[in-house]
């Protein structure tokens, strides 16, 4: 586990650097807020509603679900690829079957128009 320590060090130092700059310069930078400056940017007109009140396209959800399907598949491929030279032909056939099943789903999703952004 000790070889993962370097990652923790880099992460901690980065966070510390950003925090330090934000903290130290808090004493040096101006702080003169006013209601206009603090209002959300909206082309110079005061915002009437919260951004969170608005609905957005359902396609973003659909995309996220599709992404999970494909990403899990990628995760399956990683260990398979590392051990592929041991599995040889068995590994190839096995993975082709797996991919064909996924491909059927992919074609179905495409035909239903889930991949078209319009």
């Amino acid at each position: 586990m000790v070889q993962y320590l370097a990652l923790a060090f880099v992460a901690a130092f980065t966070a510390a650097l950003v925090l330090a700059v934000l903290g130290i310069f808090a004493f040096l930078r101006p702080k003169r807020p006013n209601p206009t400056k603090l209002s959300p940017y909206e082309c110079g007109v005061a915002a009437v509603t919260d951004a969170h009140d608005h609905r957005f396209s359902v396609r973003y959800y659909l995309l996220a679900v599709l992404f999970v399907v494909f990403d899990v598949e990628t995760v399956f491929l990683f260990p398979w690829a590392v051990m592929y030279h041991h599995l040889a032909l068995f590994g190839l056939i096995e993975m082709v079957i797996f991919l064909v099943i996924l491909l059927v789903g992919y074609v179905y999703v495409w035909k239903r128009g889930a991949l078209s952004w319009a």
Partner: protein, 391 residues
């Protein structure tokens, strides 16, 4: 000092500090390089006042940005608004601990004797998987930053960004899998070693994988022509519209850090990492005079140049075109590529050599055909034909 404390804790900590400071500086210097190069490519001067050739422009910019007022919109979710820059910049820099900048080197420390240590912070047996995993965490920062500001532009920009980033994550993963098939390991150092043993860079059998990887990489870093999250003509500045001062700067530090990461991983996977060109050809051994880490830096610099070159050359994609490219083109092609490499890898190194020759040949023929074909004058016509779709 016991060897465990020295090699397990002290050296990684020193390396981590060096990497963080070096990368923060590099991100600054890169902004200067990018602006100078863009100036050159667009036949203008670029920054040229502060210092020789305007070199200290990035220092001036950094000081200015740190001295700027830190505006937090009144309706924002304050805690998340504060957290988002960290979620983006910390993963972007953490990856640098795994990137293999060079092989082992020795130096003498007074009181300790000679210390031999590699030029990377750590080599993990899940390295490549971890690189993909850590860089993906940045997506949370993008979508949180966009949501927390409670601004419509930021929210839309954050959603678009997240959609784009996850879409190109998939072909990138598939492209990486085909390299693992050739390298038989997830460790970046072992992949470099495998290229030395094979006697050839994985670029040739992995030519298609390389293009898929780099294309997805450009999209993952939100660079032109995939810079839709920051499409200033549509979304002001995208997810970081409501950020200012140093918090805004962290987003750009992360962007430049990610550019370096993508370039370094492309170098490691396809261009032999720190190996000199043709690592097994005897009569070229004079190339070994150049230290390994310089070869690595040269290759990385080339990819960063390509990034900037892209920015000066290509116009931005439309969002539906971007999604179609990712889901309808890159995913099937990258899947086919995995199957192709898997079939070739059945015959081991010999199969990969045949695949390399075929790939390079196909690429050369494609280039020749593209060169022979007359230019198409109806670009505007084609855009008009598909204008009924709107994002």
């Amino acid at each position: 000092m016991s060897p465990f404390v020295l090699h397990g804790i002290v050296i990684p900590a020193v390396k981590a500090a060096v990497f963080v400071i070096a990368m923060a500086t590099m991100a600054g210097v890169l902004t200067w390089i990018e602006r100078r190069l863009l100036g050159f490519l667009q036949v203008r001067k670029g920054p040229n006042r502060a210092g020789p050739a305007g070199f200290f422009q990035w220092v001036a910019d950094a000081v200015k940005l740190m001295m700027k007022e830190d505006v937090v919109p009144s309706r924002a979710e304050r805690a998340l608004h504060f957290l988002a820059p960290f979620l983006i910049v910390v993963p972007a820099l953490t990856v640098f601990a795994i990137l293999p900048w060079g092989p082992e080197f020795s130096f003498t420390v007074p009181g300790l004797g000679t210390v031999t240590t590699p030029l990377y912070a750590t080599d993990l047996n899940v390295g490549l998987l971890l690189v993909l995993a850590i860089t993906t965490v940045g997506i949370y920062g993008v979508i949180l930053g966009g949501w927390a500001a409670n601004s419509k532009y930021a929210l839309l920009g954050g959603l678009r960004s997240a959609a784009q980033l996850i879409s190109y994550e998939v072909p990138m993963g598939f492209a990486v899998v085909s390299v693992i098939l050739m390298g038989r390991s997830l460790s970046l150092v072992e992949i470099i070693q495998a290229q030395k043993d094979a006697g050839v860079w994985f670029l040739f059998p992995g030519l298609l994988a390389f293009f898929l990887y780099f294309l997805s990489g450009v999209a993952e870093t939100n660079r032109t022509p995939f810079d839709l999250p920051e499409a200033e003509s549509e979304l002001v500045a995208g997810f970081h519209t409501e950020y200012s001062g140093f918090k805004w700067t962290t987003f750009f530090m992360a962007e430049y850090a990610n550019m370096i990461t993508i370039s370094a991983i492309a170098t490691t996977l396809f261009f032999g990492g720190w190996l000199r060109p043709f690592p097994n050809v005897e009569w070229l051994s004079f190339l070994g005079i150049v230290p390994a880490w310089i070869w690595f830096l040269l290759k990385v610099s080339f990819f960063i140049f390509v990034y900037i070159w892209f920015r000066a050359t290509f116009p931005r994609f439309r969002f539906d075109q971007l999604m179609a490219l990712g889901w309808k083109f890159l995913i099937p092609v990258s899947l086919a590529n995995v199957a192709l490499v898997a079939i070739a890898a059945l015959w081991g190194p010999a199969g990969l050599k045949v695949l390399g020759v075929l790939m390079t040949g196909a690429f050369a023929v494609g280039l020749f055909l593209a060169w022979r074909r007359p230019a198409r004058p109806r670009a505007t016509e084609r855009m008009g034909a598909s204008a009924e779709v709107g994002a």
